[in-house]
Amino acid sequence: MTKRVTEGPAGYMPQSAPEMGVELAPEGSALLYGNVVTPEEAMRDAAIALLTRDNPTIFPGPQVLWDWKDDVAEKAAAILDLASEIPNCKIIPMPDYRPKYPKIDVKAEINPNHPNLTILDNRIKACVFVGVHCHYANLSLRMIRAGTDCYTTALCAYMGHEEAMASIRDLHASDIQKFKEIVIEERNKLGIEWETTLPPENPSLQKEDYSTLSPADYGEYRSLIMTKKGEHVTEVE
């Protein structure tokens, strides 16, 4: 198989995959490196990438992060099941799409306006996009391919993404479960020992030790600290 869409960095201003002639896979198929394959083939390649490359990460988007539709809970559960089977997998969400001022916390989130900040800072070499609206997923996948060497997988509820190394279309929770089974199979084949473990919670949620914290620790953001009702701050800097 000739790989048409591969890990980057593809350069300063690369052609988009559709411009290179890659077309979306028809129903029942998947894309792998820009070629039409069976979903299982694509999943297997993605599984190996997630198992063998550094810092595998799942980027869940708004469509699975927020409880707006009936099928969200099931998909969310399936995504966490999948993440639990990938050794040292992280979950870094893309909770929304606005350009966030002044800057995103690259350990805590990924943003479609500059996804590479998160990819590069966390040295992510294999990732999965799921639940991100197609427009923003395409922008992100394209910038990641342009500027990083990260292997990208797109799990899409609609027609998939030309820009990803592996793209699964018409995704349901059951497909995520199937992907998980393939991950386990490949993991066993590779002889990787792993006990099913949920990824760590979002690092931004870790409780701060307020007894030792001073506003000065917030550096340039200290002006943003506000007192809670009834709280009195006696010492400032």
Binding site: L65, W66, A73, P95, Y101, M226
Partner: protein
Amino acid sequence: MSLKYITPAERFKKYLPKDYVELVDYGPFGKTQDEAGPGNMGQFKELMEEHPMCSGCWMAYYIRLIFASLPQPEETVTLGTAGCGRLAISQAAVPFIYGNYGDQNAMASGLTRAFRLRFPDKHKDVITIAGDGGTMDIGFSMTMHSWIRGEKFTTIMLDNEVYGNTGGQESGMSPKGAILKMAPLGKKGEKMPATELAKAAGCVYTVRMSPTNIKKAAKIIRRAIFVAREVGPTFIHAYTSCNIEYSIPTEDVFADAKEKEKTRFQFEEYMTDEAKAVIERVEAEEKAAKRAKKAEVV
């Protein structure tokens, strides 16, 4: 009231960044003004916190006030156009539509009508928040015609009497004689009579003000939204100084707003009888709800 789209999927909550979790837990969605209104600013997670406006910007303060005053932020969409305001508005946790130059009231017309046909049983509050240039110069025709057609949404004009974002040019709302870029000899014409135009064009509720009193400013914002839901177009013309282009020292920004309240931005509130009826009803309801809650606590 639909809070579903701002409720995290149960199992994903611990994977969300802190500011989103706090937005859900401590934000103003689904809360009353007593719980999360401008009176309590600083004690709940605001819809907009960090923004790239200049320090001491009175417009940034008023925009925060708008978001804190929304009767139902979870059912609100804002629209805006080029200018300083959008830098802050786009950082709020309320959908914001940014189109082309000065087209916010035309877009809002389409949006409001589409909401009404898609969601006949819900109030979706639509608010355009644009500057004096966007509202009264480049967007003039679209602003006026949205009022003439009686479109049911709220227009808020952030009047800093200058094109701030493009570097300080004269606008139709600049006062006569002001020496600004593109008016090197001083502005020749008068400041446009925005609220008069609004009344003539059919706005059922118009206010001109310098928002120096938080409670009053919040009440006006809410009145404008409630009336727009039921009666017709509403308009707030608010003074939001540009301390950079008019060289107002940061510490004098409030004093300047107070001073303008006595001159070009004297408080003026106009409402039709129909609008008045809505305001009286809604405010009575709010009062009753407050009393009932108090009784409950006691």
